[in-house]
């Protein structure tokens, strides 16, 4: 991808998601992922309605005007975006590919994080860890992550969540907020997931496409598996073939959700081509309610 084009794209995503993170998510994110303890951040003039308890009497005496102390939670949180860039993320049945929505969501989360002065890092994985961007603060760093998400060409095709989570567990020792954004075309990754969820604030975002859940009837067609690269002639017009696929796919989804639930991880399912604000908000609200 050309640099100017890339920058344009990054900019577009920035504009699109900035608003979201400013208006919709900032509060939700802030409250959903809280730091530990409160630190004093500043004093400001008293406004009616402020609790008398928070008045800083020393400053009030000095300025002859009432001032109140403002406390802020201790943030300095680290946010890790563990992003699946495997072959299957290139799929998308409507205007959007899974990869596009993954990038957008990552951007939203990253901008929300910067507003709270959090450090943002990213792990891009396929069947191995493709790229690790260490957590840093700042808008330019977020933009870099977005650029990587748009432009990165993975060397692998498959999905190995086990590997990615093990890597995540080994590189982060500080408690952090982690978003595992993937389509979960994988199995048996519960162990490192459980370890990670015990230590970190781990949230799963399951990215789906309608055309994946139900095999569409497209007649007889050569179909290439994004993950394995294998080519297969499939008679998608056959009802039994479709039913069989749908059943197995549904079973796998059930399996994934069951696995996440057992590991005690909050999750939400996000479909391509549909607004992701609602499921994200619901997820954040759920987390707030848990406290």
């Amino acid at each position: 991808m050309e640099t100017s084009e890339l920058l344009k794209k990054v900019r577009k995503i920035e504009i699109k998601t900035r608003g979201l993170s400013n208006q919709v998510f900032s509060g939700e994110y802030h409250t959903a992922f809280k730091g530990r303890g409160m630190t004093f951040s500043e004093v400001r003039e008293y406004a009616p309605g402020d609790p008398i308890r928070s008045i800083d009497w020393n400053v009030t005496a000095r300025f002859n005007q009432p001032f109140v102390k403002v406390f802020e939670e201790e943030r300095e949180l680290t946010m890790m975006l563990i992003v699946d860039v495997s072959g299957s993320s290139n799929f998308g049945s409507k205007s959007q590919q899974k990869r596009d929505i993954i990038t957008e969501i990552s951007a939203v989360l990253a901008f929300s994080g910067t507003q709270n002065n959090d450090k943002i890092g990213a792990i891009l994985f396929t069947d191995k860890v493709e790229k690790f961007i260490p957590p840093k603060k700042g808008k330019s760093h977020v933009l870099r992550i977005i650029r990587e998400l748009i432009d990165f060409t993975p060397t692998g095709n498959g999905t190995n969540i086990h590997e990615a989570m093990s890597f995540f567990n080994s590189v982060t020792n500080k408690r952090s907020i982690a978003f595992l954004i993937s389509d979960y075309y994988d199995k048996d990754f519960d162990r490192p997931l459980q370890i990670a969820s015990r230590k970190h604030d781990l949230v799963s975002l399951i990215i789906r496409d309608r055309a994946e859940d139900q095999l569409p009837s497209l007649g007889l067609a050569p179909i290439v598996d994004f993950e394995s690269g294998k080519r297969l002639w499939i008679d998608t017009s056959s009802k039994s073939v479709r039913n069989h696929y749908n059943q197995r796919k549904a079973a796998h989804q059930k399996y994934t959700i069951e696995l996440l639930r057992k590991a005690g991880i909050d999750y939400t399912e996000i479909y391509t081509g549909q607004p992701y604000t609602k499921p994200l908000m619901q997820l954040f609200k759920k987390r707030e309610a848990k406290r």
Partner: protein, 332 residues
Amino acid sequence: MADWEFQNIEYLYGLSIIPILIVWFVLRDRYRHPVLNYSSTSFIGSAGIKAKLIHLPFILRLIAIAGLIVALARPQSATSWQDVSTEGIDIVMALDISSSMLAQDFKPNRLSAAKEVGGEFMLSRPNDRIGLVVYAGQSFTQCPLTTDHEKLVNLFSGIKNGMIVDGTAIGMGLANAVNRLKESDAKSKVIILLTDGENTSGSIPPLTAAEIAATFGVKVYTIGVGTVGQAPFPVKDMFGRTVNQMIDVNIDEETLKAIAEQTGGKYFRATDKNKLEQIYMEIDQLEKTVIEETQYEKKNEEFPLIAAFSFLLLMAEQVIKRTWLKSALTDV
């Protein structure tokens, strides 16, 4: 019996295009159709019967191409038969079985040697009719002209000395043989007269018989049997034992030559068994049968069936490809 053969067999080399086509197809197949990318086909249980038969049209086409190439080579089923209308010759073998034929200058004796060699001669001429006349003091027909050579050899080996009154009636034997041949309408009529002595009895002199033979157009080959000089001859002595006694061999060669000459044949002198064999071989050469072999061959062109079948397959391929196995992604 239908044999298959190809009129233009070189066209069959065209069949080598089949493996090339297969390789080409396999190499190209991947890029021939636009493909549908999908997240994962790992949840596909079975691809469906149509997907399994996706290469059926190609296989049909291959078979059709092979069939057309075979048809080009013009396969013919030939029903052939030989009509061997051999106009064989008729041979009567006149064999002397007088007691002098027991002389042992031939091994084991003249008669046995003559029978052995004569038997082989018969079997070597399967297309001729052969008759058998024996003579000593008189003459009779052992076997009339026949093509059943097995039977003939059987009868031939049954010949013994002493079947007839002793003596040597060459004329009678020859006349009898001619009698056997006179009705025959074969192209060539031959008598092989074998003797070891002189005409000593009979009512017909040899030369008269030869005249008769010449009249009927019968060729007479004469064979004189016996060594030059003396030959051991078994006789019973006064005690009833068999002893060999040397006896002069005298063959009336003059008469035999005359007979041969008069009838257009040839005289041979056999001094031992090998010589006798050579004589028979020579006669065999002289009397080469002209075998007229007419070979009929009926050829049926088999290509229309194969070609029709191939076209049918091609049509089936197109129909299947365009209907049942139609894919939205492929252009036919």
